[in-house]
Each structure stands twice: as C-alpha cells, then as structure tokens.
C-alpha cells in the first residue's frame, strides 16, 4: 500500500464505496461486512496520519451496520434452534429498511468525499504511529493478564490487536502472527454477540437452558483466549522491541 514513501487511502476507499452500494441493496451479507472492514481499515489509516476528524464519522458508519452484520453472521449458522433462527432472519429483514435509510444519508457521501480529498500519509509518520499502537497492545495485554474474566479488558485488547494488524498492513509489514490471535478473539466475540441476541429473544423460557450453556462456554472461551494471549505475548513484545530499535 506504500507508494513512493506515502500511503494513500485509495484502494480501501474504493472498496468502501463499492460495498456501500451492495449493503444498500441488502442482497448479500458481504455488503455490510465489507463496509465495516473497510471503515475499520480507513480508521487506522487516519490514526497513522494522526488525524482525529473523520474517525467519529467512520464509527457512526460502522454502528449503522452493526446489528445487520451480527444478524447476518448468526443467520448463517446451522446449529441454532429453528425458532430462534427464524426470529433472527426476520429481525434481519426488518433491519434492512433502517439500514438503507442510514446509508442514504448525505453524511455517507460526505465521508467518501472527505476521504477522497485527504492527502496520503507519509510512511515515516505511519511507522511512528504503528509503534504507538504496538505499545497500546502491550498495555491492554497487561490488563488482561490480571483480569482473565474481564470481558471488557479482552475486547479492548482485541480492538488494539486489530488496529495493529491493520497498521502493519498499511505500512507493508507482515501481520501473520496476529491473525491467529485475532481468530481466537474473534471466536470469543462471536459467542458474546450470540449471547446478546439470545437476551433479546422474546421466548426467554425456551432459551433458558441454552443461555446457561452458552454462559459456561463463554467462561471457558475467555480463559482459553487469555491463555492464547499469554503464549503470543512474547512474540508481540519481541516485535515491539524490534520496531523500537529500528
């Protein structure tokens, strides 16, 4: 993504533009998913350039797609009770109208126009920002070690790891080591999302036993994720040291 010492938003901005059209139509789950993926990558691009403006706009854009994305992921599962699955599918259908209205808001076009007007980020500045993101990952990670059951601490670490992965990709550095970590955290997050939607399901009596089972599964997953982090932390720490000395 680096071109002559600078990093333009280019490819991910065009990706966002293309998938907004798909998300509006609501025919494919990839639309909403890729809008969120692109907006997160562009958020990191802004961070690399030390920009504060436009990041709230991208956050707003992601939040408009959040429920639809959750429901797309859950509706694709084949292991959910039939009635609950049907309820999820129905909820997703009813989300589409509001989603389309939000994506038709002129703020979306203004976000695209603004990002298109922005100058590219210098590689030097971006690399300095990646070092800060690495430090933030290690800081969040140290909080997790002492709070293995703290879901919020794990989410903060997950988000920091995602920003680090995207930051490395923007500056053209390998991020493979982080993908395994992201997968583990992503798995935990998927279960937490499922729990949030179970808690909204009107037939709570039907869901009681299953909810209890999921609570236990979440507890096991949290412990496993903390273990995965502990195993990976030395590698991330070594990466941070290598970056600091470069």
């Amino acid at each position: 993504m680096c071109e002559g010492g600078v990093i333009p938003a280019g490819r991910w901005l065009e990706h966002l533009r293309a998938y907004l059209a798909i998300a509006r139509r609501g025919e494919e789950p990839s639309g909403v998913h890729q809008v969120r993926v692109a907006s997160r990558r562009l958020d990191v691009w802004l961070r690399l350039g030390d920009w504060h403006v436009l990041r709230d706009d991208l956050r707003w854009l992601r939040s408009t797609c959040a429920s639809a994305r959750d429901l797309d992921v859950l509706a694709a599962r084949r292991d959910l009770p039939a009635d609950f699955h049907d309820w999820l599918v129905q909820r997703r259908r009813s989300e589409q109208g509001g989603l389309r209205e939000a994506l038709d808001h002129e703020r979306v076009e203004a976000i695209l126009d603004a990002l298109a007007a922005m100058p590219p980020v210098s590689v030097a500045r971006a690399r300095a920002a990646v070092k800060k993101i690495m430090a933030a990952v290690l800081d969040r990670g140290s909080q997790v070690d002492h709070a293995s059951a703290d879901t919020e601490a794990l989410h903060r670490l997950r988000r920091a790891l995602r920003r680090l992965r995207f930051g490395l990709e923007w500056v053209g550095e390998p991020a493979d080591a982080l993908i395994k970590l992201q997968d583990a955290f992503g798995d935990l997050n998927d279960r937490a999302v499922l729990m949030r939607w179970i808690e909204q399901y009107p037939e709570q009596d039907d869901a009681a036993a299953w909810r209890a089972e999921l609570h236990e599964e979440l507890d096991r997953k949290r412990i496993a994720v903390v273990q995965t982090w502990r195993e990976s932390e030395p590698e991330v720490d070594a990466m941070a040291r290598s970056w600091s000395s470069s």
């Binding site: 436009l54 203004a110 976000i111 126009d113 007007a117 922005m118 100058p119």
Partner: protein, 156 residues
C-alpha cells in the same frame, strides 16, 4: 446554544487543473490559524460538537480545533451549499463549531440572526475568522455576540 461559525484558514489558490476539494492550507495559513486556536483557548472557548465541510481546507482547519473539543466531529456536506433545515437539525450540542466556506457561512449567519439568507454581506468572514452566536438554531433565533477577524483572536 452557542454557535461558532468559522471560515477555513488560508489555502493554496484555486487552479483550473487542480480539484478544489483537495486544496490544502498553506503552511502560513496553518500556522496563523494555530495562533487563532491558541487565542480561542485563552478566551476559554470550548466546543462539544464540531462540524466541517468535506473539503480539505475545512478538514485541516477543523483538525486544528480538536484540542478545544470535548465531543464528536462530523463531516457535513450541508456546509458546501446554502444552509437548510437539514443542516440546522445536526446542531445538537450546547457549544457547536462549524467550519466551512464563503459565501455559505455569511448566509448561515444572516439566516440565523436576521431570518434571511440574502443579507450575508453584513456578516462577511475573513479566512480563519469567526462569528459567535447564541440562541436557538432556527431562522432569526440567534443573536450575534461577536464577529471576530482572525487577526483579533490571534492577538489574545
């Protein structure tokens, strides 16, 4: 509500072969506006919402106001055309700053103070200058507290 209507700082001149939206601040324009921000800071001015146009010179001006902000930023294409009710509906804070362009900002001030868009010639904003309004963000619902050229604020 207090509303701070701020014109972007000095930008590179327009050129036919260069997209207007991508015109950046000049280095001098950026430095001088940073002094405006320090002047606003010394006056104790803070915002809880900051809206800006999608053009680069407004983006760069808005970015320099972020240290005075305790709240969200929002890009608003309503700031690159004559003001309308949709734009006013987006002013939801108590101390709102908007960064945009002439002649739209003059017309915004005229509309909010006099209830008419077309008396903007009474409220001309220089680059980096601002109009400070108070009241309800509806046509004729606001009072002009001050019209401050950038040079005055820089000297605070």
């Amino acid at each position: 509500m207090e509303l701070f209507v701020i014109r972007h700082a000095t930008a590179v001149p327009a050129r036919e072969d260069y997209p207007d939206a991508e015109r950046a601040l000049t280095p001098r324009g950026a430095r001088r506006f940073e002094r405006v921000v320090r002047g606003l800071d010394r006056l104790g001015i803070r915002f809880d919402q900051l809206l800006h146009s999608p053009k680069l010179r407004a983006i760069e001006t808005a970015e320099r106001l972020v240290p005075l902000l305790d709240g969200p930023t929002e890009v608003a294409s309503g700031l690159v055309r004559d003001p309308d009710p949709e734009l006013l509906a987006r002013f939801v804070g108590e101390r709102v700053a908007v960064v945009g362009h002439e002649p739209y900002l003059d017309r915004l001030v005229s509309w909010l103070v006099l209830g008419k868009l077309e008396r903007g010639d009474r409220f001309v904003l220089g680059k980096g200058g601002l109009a400070w309004l108070e009241g309800e963000p509806k046509p004729g619902g606001m009072t002009l507290l001050a019209l401050l050229p950038a040079a005055v604020v820089r000297k605070r």
